[in-house]
């Protein structure tokens, strides 16, 4: 073997090792005990694969490669380090969009190469996968950017116009037609440009009408799509590590997307095409929201034996998880049973609430999933809903005209008393009125989540210390 062959052999071996480390890493991330080892392992795989790549690229364009890596790594690393935990979902969306964009760029470069007649004929499968990867990568990139902008509050939550679905379909059909023309007819530069413009545009258009509550599903879907795009471009580039890592992520992401859609009892097609959280208002609700003062709410808690806390995105926004856990500890010390009820899609991503509660130090055994906790609301004296809305809305069970009809919810409405901590009288992310807030045994504590928890803690102390009871 000459030097060049040896280097290629080393690179291929490194890619194999990286693929093994990725699969083991993802597997380890599936268990709380080994999760941290898992990400470190996957990280080692990434470093090995990247270093090995220098061996086969030689020194050609080395300055550009190093500069590109520096520009890509440094700002995202620093940003990722300091971004608040509450902003994690949009960060995942953004980084995912970058991956999609990278796959699309590879596709663009390869197609550009194919368009040069001097490179000879190219296998149909190779051209087809380059086109497919580029299409999926482009859609994933612009779609993820819109998802990021929406979650980051940089953009109106919804954007609808009449005939939107037909229009979107036409753009998609045009992108596919351009792609087919590239594959079957000829790889023409102008056609490549038209194809990318249409694909990038479609990513924007398909994400614009999707409303808040569906965003977790959408991010997960784009994550899976980027994986697939990477796998397809990996075939075009003949790099096994890309094919394997991309496919594993594509399959895992698709499965995760299905789990989420199932948790919301909505087919994925419904998420993408029915403007959930965009239209529909459901039945108007009679009655009024009944406010409560923190001191009275604290008395309710003081009298209770069993308390269930239902956190939602509002808790994340208020950064109230630490204070809520402090309140819970005070209640536990006073001999009460305290549990946290987590809806699968509470927050902006599945498991979002679990991450925040874990950050605050809440032990696992106090946190219950929807199916486990739902029968317990009947025996619960006080439920505290903090920043959750759509996932506790009983209209999902009773009101067929409601856009969220059919979505499984936490049966907070079954508990004897409910305290809802809420900043104001507005509706949730999906823009739907919540019958729970108007129920006879529901009281609303209008305050910022952190502030409310603080007040409840001091009022509880006052009750215990004052001996007024």
């Amino acid at each position: 073997m000459d030097l060049h062959e040896t280097l290629i052999w080393i690179a291929k071996a490194s890619y194999f090792l990286a693929a093994v480390l990725f699969i083991l890493g993802i597997k380890r991330m599936a268990s709380p005990v080994t999760a941290r080892k898992g990400i470190v392992q996957a990280g080692i795989g990434m470093v090995i694969a990247t270093l090995a790549t220098f061996a086969i690229t030689g020194m050609h364009n080395i300055e550009l490669i190093l500069l590109g890596i520096a520009i890509g790594v440094i700002p995202t690393w620093l940003w990722g380090k300091k971004v608040a935990m509450t902003d994690m979902p949009q960060m995942v969306a953004l980084f995912n969009g970058m991956g999609g964009g990278s796959a699309a760029a590879i596709g663009a470069g390869e197609l550009l190469k194919f368009s040069d007649p001097s490179t000879g004929a190219h296998p149909l499968v190779t051209v087809a996968l380059a086109v497919l990867g580029a299409l999926i990568g482009s859609v994933s990139m612009t779609g993820s950017i819109i998802a990021w902008a929406k979650l980051d509050g940089r953009m109106d939550k919804r954007f609808n116009f009449p005939g939107q679905q037909v229009f979107n379909f036409l753009i998609f059909a045009a992108a596919v037609a351009a792609g087919i023309a590239l594959i079957a007819w000829q790889v023409d530069t102008r056609l490549i440009i038209a194809f990318f413009v249409l694909a990038l545009l479609f990513g924007v258009l398909m994400t614009l009408p999707i409303g808040g509550a569906d965003m977790p599903v959408v991010i997960s879907l784009f994550n899976a799509l980027t994986g697939l795009a990477v796998a397809f471009e990996g075939y075009v580039m003949q790099i096994e590590a890309l094919i394997i890592a991309g496919t594993v992520v594509g399959a895992a992401g698709t499965f995760l997307t299905q789990l989420m859609a199932k948790a919301m009892n909505r087919p994925i097609s419904g998420v993408l095409f029915s403007n959930f959280g965009g239209g529909g208002s459901g039945e108007a609700i009679a009655g009024a929201q009944k406010p409560i003062e923190a001191s009275d709410a604290a008395s309710l808690l003081y009298m209770a034996e069993k308390v269930i806390i239902v956190p939602g995105y509002g808790m994340a926004v208020a950064q109230a998880q630490h204070k809520i856990w402090e309140l819970s500890q005070a209640l536990i010390k006073a001999g009460k049973e305290v549990k946290f009820a987590i809806h699968p899609v509470a927050g902006r991503m599945p498991g979002h609430m679990n991450v925040l509660l874990a950050e605050a130090g809440v032990p696992y055994d106090l946190i219950a999933d929807m199916d486990d906790i739902n029968p317990e609301f009947k025996t619960c004296d006080v439920s505290i809903v903090i920043g959750a809305n759509d996932v506790v809305n009983p209209a999902a069970k009773t009101d067929k005209s409601s856009p969220i009809f059919g979505m499984p919810i936490l049966n907070v409405v079954d508990s004897r008393q409910t305290i809802v901590i809420k900043r104001g009288k507005g509706t949730g992310f999906a823009g739907i009125e919540n019958a729970l807030f108007y129920a006879d045994n529901t009281r609303l504590l209008y305050a910022d989540g952190k502030e409310a928890a603080n007040q409840l803690i001091s009022e509880l102390k006052a009750i215990e210390g004052g001996g007024g009871h």
């Binding site: 993802i26 996957a42 990434m46 953004l94 990477v230 094919i243």
Partner: protein, 95 residues
Amino acid sequence: MIDGFLALYIFMLAAFTGKEIIGRVPVILHTPLMSGSNFVHGIVLVGAMIALAHADSTLAKTIGFIGVVLGAGNAAGGYVVTERMLEMFKSSKDK
């Protein structure tokens, strides 16, 4: 050279692997796992590096450069946020 059918086999086996390994994930780890798998497809950086290394024209270099920047961002950002999320799980478990 990976030919069509060999690639198809790799694709199939990797797809089953992906579904298998995620099938046992508890709900509490869904967010970190999505973030972790988001990091793993940052391997696209390797493809972009090779594409840029083979680029000659200004246009090809520009496209390759964009690919490297975006791929590196995916990998680096994906790692940092996943690590930070999992860090918290460790702290709660040690109690």
